[in-house]
Amino acid sequence: MQSPQRVFGKDRTKYLIVNQTLQFQNRTLYFLVFSGALFLVGTALGPGLFGNVSIPFISWQFDVFHLLCHQDPERSFFINGSQMAVCSRCLGIYSFFLIGWTLIPLIAKLMNIKSRYYFRFLIGTIILNLIDVLGNLFQVWTNTNESRLFLGALFGLSSALILSNEFFKKLNTED
């Protein structure tokens, strides 16, 4: 561990450089979640990812998500002419959870955000998604696959970020 350095700026002000190291904890759980999320995203893309035009309800990718997603073709993207195994909102959730999960070491290194802000972000994204769902349900507006993907992505990202401090902690050698 390095000790903090004292340096002088142009105005002769004394600055203290704080050495911050990133502590990586719960490693097994982190890599387990990463592998699982990677598998889920690959599966969510559906049989079209492998070039198979398959029928919903009988491909294994659809089996995997049938308890988690309505898998409505009108609310899903298609890949290689085949419907993805999850709807656009769920695709946003899973893919951006994975992206967020991959980025949390970097975010923890670059930023110092307290857990309560991540918690507010998570609650905010849940409320946004609920408003969007209800607004569409009561025909106040019509959402699109893209808007659902975007809002799902925010929720997925916030779900990953709220856990960042549990895996990567900044340790200050001097405060």
Binding site: N26, L29, I55, R75, I162
Partner: protein
């Protein structure tokens, strides 16, 4: 010694299993009771988007229940474990409930399969040869789903997926309801 989390796990697993089974059965009845049409393959009329992700609330429910009932804090590793067990047990219970319903209404899945195949047969955008091949694989798929091996495979897949997503929600639940921080 910390109190056992199993009562919270079982309680949350039952809630998830019952909710997902009821939603699943509602979908099966809706499709089975409809006339075959291309529209039936687009089931948006029934599936309210809120049902999306309902299967992953188990981890949150179990960790919340455990933390509040015993006023304890625990690390996210324990939350992950609670969520994982909740998801696996929910899948097992949902599998058992599904089989019980098969005794109550043995022709339900058959009617569902018939409607889906009938709807697909009406699709005139696919060449006949390819359509026959796909219909055969659909019939085979529905048969497999009803065999012992297919049922066990379905339960195993559900246990893996529900286990994993509830592991995630269990970690989030532990962070929100049982964290020692702040």
């Amino acid at each position: 010694m910390k109190p056992s989390y199993w009562p919270s796990v079982i309680q949350a697993a039952i809630i998830v299993a019952v909710v997902t089974t009821v939603v699943g059965l509602g979908l099966l009845y809706y499709v089975a009771g409809s006339e075959p049409s291309m529209g039936i393959m687009m089931i948006s009329g029934l599936t309210i988007p809120v049902t999306c992700l309902i299967g992953l609330i188990g981890g949150i429910l179990a960790t919340r229940s455990y933390a509040k009932a015993y006023d304890v804090t625990f690390p996210i590793g324990t939350g992950a474990l609670i969520g994982l067990f909740t998801g696996i047990i929910a899948a097992l219970i949902a599998g058992v409930l599904g089989q019980i319903w098969n005794f109550v209404d043995p022709t339900l899945t058959e009617r569902f399969a018939e409607t889906m195949i009938g709807a697909f047969e009406m699709n005139d955008q696919i060449p006949d040869a390819q359509k026959d091949e796909i219909i055969m694989s659909m019939e085979q798929g529905f048969e497999d789903q009803n065999s012992i091996g297919g049922i066990l495979k379905g339960i195993a897949i559900n246990a893996g997926v529900l286990g994993f997503v509830n592991l995630l929600s269990g970690m989030i639940g532990a962070k929100i309801f049982a964290s020692e921080e702040e």
